[in-house]
């Protein structure tokens, strides 16, 4: 759960190094370790947790939300809180992918899907960054447009992919691992590399912690914002393609809860909702925590719905502890 070292960068505030010394951080670290250890013990003592089937299901379902959560992390860190339209982007991408696959084949379908996700999100990024519009309102507006226009194009029906259309490329396994998982890891690695090693990543954190200071430092804030949205859309297109390929169907319901799941993972991972601080690694840990809880509940015979209660309490606990202890 370590944040990438940023101390050696000139002009960049170094919260991780300074805060390490404080007692508050120590306490947070202890709490984190205790929580993760408890979770691990409960998980390992649940009958069948380590079975191949349950691990496989854990890894696969975590991958879909994981990609969205990586994009959401970029948006949260850039100071734009969250988006309500990434889930709808995933759903709409399943339709775009399906339609393109039926007409032109697998490679154009992949390219078109990625382009679709990126463009839908970039448009929002430009409106938010260049015109200074409110990110939540813009994302709600795009949510409406996506769930209105996409089913209108298909008359409200799902689109089905007949077997052998090439969607097999995006499902199954590679080196014994589900392809969904590999792509999610790829998305997460790209996201973390962007944050740690690029000018964009550095600017993003600066814009997120203080928009005005970033402007004063000569950063073109609107470009950073637009780029964050571009990447988030690109990342959201990936689970769209994967879901369509996995279920051989394009459907507007697939991404319905992804916005909430993703922001839950972002917050549980410990990325600050007010922006500026956070990392992709943390978000992925958040996704894994949520999925592990879900699998534990299932294995112990609880209904999956209890997950909401536990996620909610975890979020409240994380926010309360993180902010109150860090302030002391």
């Amino acid at each position: 759960m370590s944040t990438p070292s940023t101390v050696d960068r000139p002009g960049f505030r170094a919260p991780s190094a300074l805060r390490l010394a404080s007692r508050g951080t120590l306490m947070i670290t202890v709490l984190r370790v205790v929580f993760l250890a408890a979770l691990a013990i409960i998980a390992l003592s649940s009958p069948g947790f380590l079975s191949a089937a349950s691990l496989l299901s854990l890894v696969t379902t975590a991958s879909f939300v994981g990609c969205v959560a990586v994009g959401m992390t970029l948006l949260t860190m850039s100071g734009n809180i969250m988006s309500f339209s990434l889930g709808a982007t995933v759903s709409a991408t399943t339709l775009v992918f399906t339609a393109a696959l039926l007409s032109w084949g697998i490679v154009p379908a992949i390219l078109l899907s990625l382009m679709f996700g990126a463009l839908v999100s970039l448009a929002q990024g430009l409106i938010i960054g260049w015109l200074g519009a409110n990110p939540l309102v813009v994302s709600i507006a795009f949510f409406g447009l996506l769930i209105g226009i996409a089913p209108w194009c298909t008359d409200g029906n799902s689109l089905f992919i007949p077997p052998g259309s090439g969607q097999e490329l995006l499902r199954g396994k590679l080196f014994g691992l589900p392809i969904e998982f590999l792509l999610m890891v790829g998305v997460a690695v790209i996201g973390q590399l962007l944050l740690t090693f690029t000018v964009f990543g550095r600017n993003l954190m600066m814009v997120g912690s203080s928009r005005r200071a970033a402007e004063a430092a000569g950063i073109r804030v609107w470009r950073t914002t637009a780029s964050a949205y571009l990447w988030a859309g690109l990342f959201a297109a990936v689970p769209g393609m994967l879901l369509a390929a996995r279920y051989s169907k394009g459907n507007m319901d697939y991404g319905a809860t992804f916005d909430y799941d993703a922001i839950t993972a972002v917050i549980i991972g410990g990325t600050a909702i007010e922006g500026g601080r956070g990392s992709i690694v943390r978000t992925i840990i958040g996704v894994v925590i949520m999925e592990v809880i879900r699998v534990i509940l299932l294995l112990n015979g609880f209904r999956q719905e209890w997950q909401y209660l536990i996620s909610g309490i975890t979020i409240l606990a994380v926010i309360l502890l993180q902010t109150t202890i860090a302030r002391k």
Binding site: A133, L136, V137, A141, G156, T264, I273, E305, L316, T324
Partner: protein, 324 residues
């Protein structure tokens, strides 16, 4: 006596409402499907469903916070009302509204006293409420046996109204009066506009914050309880889209997420716009997608026009055009 400045906050919401009515009337032409008396009842029924949530969320937006938890509260309150109101519907309603009030107070307290971001806290609340309603109902839809109550709530009163729509109209009227006539409205706008200035002006910011979240929770709960009774059943709603229409209605009514603008009457106008649009499109036989697209476009237009850099960018474009 007549003060023109009082009307300014209502200009845009009224204009949008009139535009929607005009567009629908033009689409309808001379068929008489839209401008009929039966549509008034359906508009008011929808107004009664979205109105309380829009008012609650809208008030939290006015003070520059955002209450996501209403989406969970509506479902949970419905389940509580149906489960506890078996013998006496008033008891169920009281239990639901009481729960909404208390959880709202609690969330407001955490947000105000610990100075935490409201989106994070209410997201936690949303998931907890959702979880509780699944736990209460065992993930099933539960029935309310007293069908008389459902009949009563669905009855036409004075032709156009029903009990739920009368209740919410009265609530809107009372809140608008208090907001306009007392110091409270001005204070709330000040808290949303500039919190530090409000604090130094001696406004009790924490109390207002806590109160607003309690108000929002209680209204969402009342809405959920009435909904549960009218449908004679309640079910955990999932992450249903209660939040999006409510926020949309508030924004259409002139509330901004950056705080400090908006009036209760404006929110009523926004809710009315949304209700007219949905019922009107239904009456015209247009698909529900048209509603989503239209709302999306209007919201987008409002977001762009309210953009902090909009005027500066417009000037930039003008200059560039002149130079070329």
């Amino acid at each position: 006596m007549f003060n023109r400045r009082l009307l300014v906050p209502y200009l845009r919401p009224s204009a949008v409402l009139l535009a929607v009515i005009l567009i629908l009337a033009v689409i309808d032409g001379s068929h008489g499907r839209f401008l009929s008396s039966s549509i008034v009842f359906s508009v008011l029924q929808m107004f009664a469903t979205v109105g309380p949530i829009a008012l609650g969320v809208g008030m939290t937006m006015i003070i520059r916070e955002f209450d996501l938890s209403v989406a969970g509260m509506v479902g949970m309150a419905g389940c509580i009302a149906v489960l506890t109101g078996g013998d006496n519907p008033w008891l169920g309603l009281a239990a639901a509204v009481g729960t909404g009030l208390c959880t709202g107070l609690l969330q407001g307290f955490i947000i105000a006293r610990l100075k935490l971001p409201s989106i994070g806290v209410t997201l936690g609340g949303l998931l907890v409420f959702l979880g509780v309603s699944y736990a209460l109902t065992g993930s099933r839809s539960i029935q309310y046996d007293d069908l008389e109550v459902a009949g009563l709530l669905g009855q036409h009163i004075f032709g156009f109204f029903s009990i739920p729509s009368l209740i919410i109209l009265v609530i809107f009227a009372v809140v608008a009066l208090i907001f306009g006539m007392t110091k409270l409205g001005r204070d709330l706008l000040a808290v949303g506009g500039d919190r530090r200035a409000a604090l130094s002006a001696g406004i009790r910011v924490d109390t207002l914050l806590i109160g607003t979240f309690a108000f929002s929770g209680a209204l969402a709960a009342m809405c959920g309880a009435l909904l549960g009774y009218s449908l004679a059943s309640a079910a955990p709603t999932g992450l249903s889209n209660v939040l999006v229409p409510a926020t949309t209605a508030a924004i259409l009514g002139g509330v901004s997420l950056s705080g400090g603008t908006g009036r209760p009457l404006g929110i009523a106008l926004g809710t009315l716009t949304l209700s007219v649009l949905q019922s009107g499109l239904n009456a015209l036989g247009l698909s529900s997608y048209a509603h989503e697209i239209f709302v999306g476009l209007v919201l987008l237009a409002i977001a762009i026009l309210d953009g902090t850099a909009f005027n500066a960018r417009l000037d930039m474009l003008r200059l560039a055009l002149r130079r070329s």
